[in-house]
């Protein structure tokens, strides 16, 4: 569906040559994200996969402007959001882009009740006419993520890991944003609730046409939810294409290695599994360039 969308629509988010570097000390700079370009169309789900430390979370945090990008351009909802933000743009961003954070505990204020954590955005933008309506909205979203309205009165530490994660999901969804950056938002959930949350995310997408940047390490889930996928390695995007392209015709050796490692729920198969190794020590991605494999399928080599 996205391929048709791509021709007809303007992208909702366009990231061009993004770099995000962190200076740790005089002699040590972490080049977390390098020259990354991709776009997300309205109503689309773009999956971002790659090894731990490859820069997935950093990309999310740069886009939602928790960091000042070192270099590159980010256009969101027709506004340039890569430089200094004026008040109007900042407000637009806060309303239309939400992030579900990887670390549920550290992103929830332990002294606030769940209801107030979820209601914060509603309060800032006055998205209700009275208190009753506010509590109704909060209760509804709690139910949608598989919690109960009574949970609004509890504090974060009284929840299990997966329950907290769902609070983070509810906080993002309640704002009806145009783009949701979901950073490992289902990994702490049991498979049945994962399925429930993923189904819910799909329903909400059908209803509101929001787009997702879906960061995850579980490739079977990424495959299931994404329209297109980008594969990151060491801060570089090394391959991007439709979900079908990536899974049935992976071209980059890193993508191939990643796919060979997907665990299967089958003990006999798992105990005999062989991984395809990938050694990147000799490649310099900075010197590589993009090649089109087909349609929207591109690879860095």
């Amino acid at each position: 569906m996205n391929e048709e969308l791509g021709i007809r629509n303007e992208p909702l988010l366009q990231v061009s040559n993004l770099r995000q570097h962190f200076k740790i000390s005089r002699s040590f700079t972490v080049k977390a994200v390098n020259n990354v370009s991709f776009e997300i169309y309205p109503g689309e789900t773009y999956g971002l996969v790659g090894e731990s430390g490859s820069g997935k979370t950093t990309i999310g945090r740069s886009i939602i402007r928790l960091y000042d990008p070192t270099d590159g351009k980010i256009i969101f909802n027709y506004s340039d959001i890569s430089g200094d933000l004026d008040n109007k743009t900042r407000r637009m961003l806060r309303k239309n882009m939400q992030m579900i954070f990887q670390d549920p505990m550290s992103s929830l204020n332990p002294r606030k009740k769940i209801g107030d954590i979820i209601g914060e955005g509603l309060d800032i933008f006055k998205l209700y006419s009275n208190l009753k309506e506010r509590n109704q909205i909060i209760g509804d979203i709690l139910k949608k993520v598989g919690l109960s309205p009574a949970h609004a009165e509890r504090y974060p530490q009284q929840f299990s890991g997966g329950q907290r994660q769902r609070v983070g999901i509810a906080r993002a969804l309640v704002m009806n944003p145009k783009l949701i950056i979901a950073d490992e938002c289902i990994s702490a959930l049991d498979v049945s609730i994962q399925a429930q949350v993923v189904n819910l995310m799909k329903d909400i997408q059908d209803e509101t046409k929001c787009a997702y940047l879906f960061i995850a390490h579980d490739l079977s889930m990424v495959k299931y939810i994404s329209d297109r996928i980008g594969v990151l390695h060491k801060g570089y995007l090394v391959e991007t294409g439709s979900t079908k392209d990536i899974f049935s015709n992976p071209v980059h050796p890193y993508t191939q290695s990643l796919l060979s490692a997907v665990p299967q729920p089958n003990p006999a198969v798992e105990k005999n599994r062989r991984l395809i190794p990938y050694d990147a020590s000799k490649v310099d991605y900075e010197k590589c360039s993009w090649h089109q494999v087909s349609g929207m399928h591109f690879v860095l080599n």
């Binding site: 549920p104 109960s148 399925a195 003990p267």
Partner: protein
Amino acid sequence: MENILSIKNLDITFRTNAGNIHAIRGVDIYLPTGKTVALVGESGSGKSVTMKAVVGLLDSNAIINSGNIFYKAIDLLTLPKKELRQKINGQQIAMVFQDPMTSLNPTMQIGDQITEAMFLHKKISKADAQQKALELLNLVGIIDAEKRMKNYPHQLSGGMRQRVVIAIALSCEPKILICDEPTTALDVTVQARILDLIKDIQAQMGLSVIYITHDLGVVAKVADFVNVMYAGKIIETGTVEEIFYDPRHPYTWGLLSAMPDLETDDDRLYSIPGSPPNLLHEPKGDAFAARNKFAMKIDMEAEPPMFKISETHYAATWLLHPDAPKVELPPELKSRLQRARKAAENQL
């Protein structure tokens, strides 16, 4: 087989403003020496709480109503807190917590956090401790480990933090390692590496492992035995083969059906209908009954006991009662199990 850890009839309640939550309702878990036992189940079913009871780190509003937790011959629940800390925790039993940020100190460099753990439990020189910390970071796959030792937790990615916590847990060479979702934030290649690392240590030093995870692929890879938990109880237990090829509890069926494999391309994923019971008001009968399409009248009235299927395989469902009607597995699951068994045969 000797058990290095035996949890017997553990029962825990939390006091809250809203009332008492009966979170753990008589749990038995056995960890045979040198083996890996996986604990899977519904979010909120009590996996983390059970393991926190083992390491004596329950929240202050928890009440242990009954039960024993034997480490070898010592009942940990009878030890004073201080003794538990000094003699057992960290040294004999180490735990990797679900949320790495909660066990890392945000104001301390990670190198110091690893060596601090070693100083606490061992006589070791500063230089040796640093050397060992470096080795551990390398082992868990942190590149540029020497530079990374000077990083603060927020300067690391989620998966790197998780690996630091694993390194800390391994630093004191424990006898039992309890991992609560240790690889949730790790991509598949790093995850495979960590799992292999734990297996290597296990083979070398006879480490025993309890592994809490939602990822059934990981369970298939690491576990010798599997316990399935629901609403504060173990509802099925067996060898990993028994659970994956011949599951008997309808909740386990639901779990296995909900995980997409790379073949799945249905429009919607299967998810178990309904939601878990609110343990503020404990359900009568089988806690899973309301969500179980095979539920019978008795499920609403009485809790099923553990029925024995083999020496190692038990499940708590009335469907296993000799008088219960035979039920057909859901067709999707049936074909999936067939596929799995076939793939397994092809491995031989």
